[in-house]
């Protein structure tokens, strides 16, 4: 199972990077979303993929009888998903506001913070 999952992670990252290389901010954001999913999936695989072994301990026992899947990566991913949602929602709202105020989503034309300086004459 690890093979196909790793392949999916690779495809997601490749697509994400391709989208992020575009000049359009929305493409950038969608690329970021894909990569964040790829990261979560990678953590999931790194925590070892096991088949049909939920981390449950039968009543009256201290430890599980057989090998069980590790619940910790899933807890990590859940936290990461929640945080990621927050950040992406903020980024989307920021992009929407920027479009409203600056009137463009083209990153190359956003030069207010770093204007192209006119040539400075020698005397200060």
């Amino acid at each position: 199972m690890e093979g196909p999952l790793a392949l999916v992670v690779g495809i997601l990252i490749a697509t994400g990077v391709y989208l992020m290389l575009a000049r359009n901010l929305l493409h950038y954001l969608f690329g970021l979303i894909l990569i964040s999913n790829a990261a979560n999936l990678a953590i999931f695989v790194a925590g070892r993929v096991t088949r049909a072994a939920p981390p449950l301990i039968p009543k009256g026992m201290e430890v599980a009888p057989g090998p069980i899947s590790n619940p910790l990566p899933q807890a990590l991913i859940l936290t990461a998903i929640v945080i990621g949602f927050g950040l992406l929602a903020f980024a989307l709202a920021l992009i929407a506001q920027a479009y409203k105020v600056l009137g463009t989503l083209d990153v190359d034309s956003m030069r207010i913070a770093e204007p192209v300086l006119p040539k400075r004459d020698k005397s200060p």
């Binding site: 970021l32 964040s36 990461a80």
Partner: protein, 506 residues
């Protein structure tokens, strides 16, 4: 004990909660914020005292023993970083009373500011990697909000670049943490020190180290990952820039120092070579950027980058003296940098612009402010006997001990260029006459505002002076902290609560 180590982030979070309903009333909100920061400073003092007297302290949240629960650890490095954050927090919150306009307070400036402090303090005191990630996110979302609060065109423009690149760093950090877990099965930093040494896969460990360098490197603004910093740091009000400049990038450096002394075995040559190379390039590119610009805050922003290079250099050289130099440099730099930004804000208030060509005459109008600027700026450039001199001396001595003469050469060139760009500000903003002749004197601004602007600046300048004139105890403290970092048996013992026969992977 456990509640005390939780206070550095609990106090700012509670203050943030308290300021939020009061945000409509500027004075009340500001008073709560300053009170919260004073409380935080007190707490960090107590923690520093406890660590200094009783060694490394650790607390397990909810009594889940490490490495399974959430661990908070304070060693010497954490304690001094917390104390400095407390000082910067207090100074900046006092300064913000006059600098932040009413509509920004109404939008919740003080709440976000306190949340930022909570994130910074949380990062300094946490003992496991995943919580480090969480505190980084707290810090990040608060800094996003502070950066675009008010929604000026320039803020949105700078904010987009800041958000875009920092989200990438977040993803890298998350991935590298996940991979660490995959390799070792734990995220507790003390346990990682033990577990990672047993991983028999040097390629994977090296790859992981490089991933961490990229992730923390974006946060710390090292070469070539720093482009978000000069694009965004001059956009928000100067109060926000001051706290960003003082604390945010240093949290990245702190994380680098922590991971590369505690977690990764120092036999890994490859990451240290990368760190050394990037450190030198960071120093040079940053200061060249500063030399090329003619805007007060942009020059200072490029200087942040160059000084991050010095901090990373201390880590890359990896000797006790070099690490002590990095720690002393961090203390000095946070104080001086915050101060310079606060001064630039007051200079703008008096002269009306940040463009060096459009301002001037500050020395004649307000000599006091000039003295403060002189102290901070020339300390940063490394003038004896100010604090920057000792910081650079430690690093230079460390590289001379290793016979790394080209490192010394780069450091000296950087120092000279720093001096050049600082004297540029000095000559253009302070000595030259104001082109339109309306440079106000400090006496002309209302008394209350004058105190709110000058007291924090004076306090920070005083700290710079003390660090410079009596560096002995601080250097000793840095050496002790560096010793702890290079021989983390105390740290591991405090966290894992077991008598480790320290074999060590260092």
């Amino acid at each position: 004990m456990s509640w005390l180590l939780a206070l550095p982030f609990l106090v700012p979070i509670l203050t943030a909660l308290a300021t939020f309903p009061a945000r409509g009333r500027k004075r009340l909100c500001g008073a709560i914020s300053v009170f919260g920061c004073t409380l935080l400073l007190g707490v960090t003092f107590i923690i520093l005292y406890l660590v200094e007297t009783g060694g490394t302290r650790a607390a397990q949240m909810g009594d889940w023993a490490a490495p399974f629960g959430i661990t908070l650890v304070a060693d010497r490095l954490s304690a001094i970083m917390l104390l400095i954050s407390g000082i910067v927090g207090l100074c900046v919150s006092v300064f913000s009373l006059s600098d932040i306009r009413k509509y920004r307070v109404k939008l919740g400036f003080h709440s976000f500011f306190q949340l930022l402090l909570a994130g910074v303090c949380g990062s300094f005191i946490t003992g496991d990697l995943f919580n480090l990630y969480v505190w980084f996110e707290v810090m990040l979302i608060a800094s996003f909000a502070l950066l675009v609060l008010g929604g000026d065109r320039i803020q949105l423009d700078g904010g987009i670049k800041y958000v875009a690149l920092n989200l990438v760093s977040t993803l890298l950090m998350l991935t590298s943490i996940g991979m660490t877990y995959g390799l070792t099965g734990t995220l507790n930093m003390a346990q990682l020190h033990v577990s990672l040494a047993t991983v028999d896969n040097p390629t994977a460990v090296s790859a992981l180290a490089v991933l961490f360098i990229c992730a923390f490197g974006i946060k710390a603004a090292i070469f070539p990952l720093f482009f978000w910093l000069p694009a965004s740091y001059h956009a928000p009000p100067v109060t926000v820039t001051a706290v960003f400049a003082g604390l945010l990038t240093k949290v990245g450096v702190y994380a680098l120092i922590r991971t590369f002394t505690l977690i990764f075995p120092s036999e890994l040559e490859f990451p240290h070579t990368i760190l050394l190379g990037t450190a030198l390039l960071t120093m040079l590119t940053g200061v060249l950027g500063a030399a090329a610009h003619y805007e007060f805050r942009k020059i200072l922003a490029f200087h942040i980058i160059s000084q991050i290079g010095f901090l990373v250099l201390g880590l890359a050289l990896d000797t006790p003296l070099a690490l002590a130099g990095a720690i002393f440099y961090t203390i000095h730099n946070i104080v001086a940098k915050t101060n310079l930004f606060l001064i630039s804000g007051t200079a703008k208030r008096l002269t009306g612009s940040y463009e060096l060509s459009q301002i001037g005459g500050l020395y004649r109008a307000s000599p006091l402010l000039s003295v403060f600027f002189f102290i901070a700026a020339f300390s940063l450039a490394g003038f004896p006997p100010l604090s920057g001199f000792w910081a650079k001396l430690l690093l230079l001595k460390a590289s001379l001990d290793l016979d790394a003469y080209w490192v010394v050469a780069v450091a000296l060139i950087t120092g000279a260029l720093t001096l050049f760009s600082m004297s540029k500000i000095w000559a253009e903003a302070f000595l030259k006459d104001h082109p339109k002749d309306y440079c106000q004197s400090l006496k002309n601004i209302p008394q209350q505002e004058r105190y709110q602007r000058l007291l924090p600046v004076a306090l920070l300048a005083l700290i710079t002076l003390v660090l410079g004139l009596a560096p002995g105890p601080f250097i000793e403290y840095s050496l002790a902290a560096a010793g702890e970092l290079l021989n983390p048996s105390d740290y591991i013992e405090a966290v894992l609560e077991m008598e480790t026969q320290y074999a060590g992977n260092h």
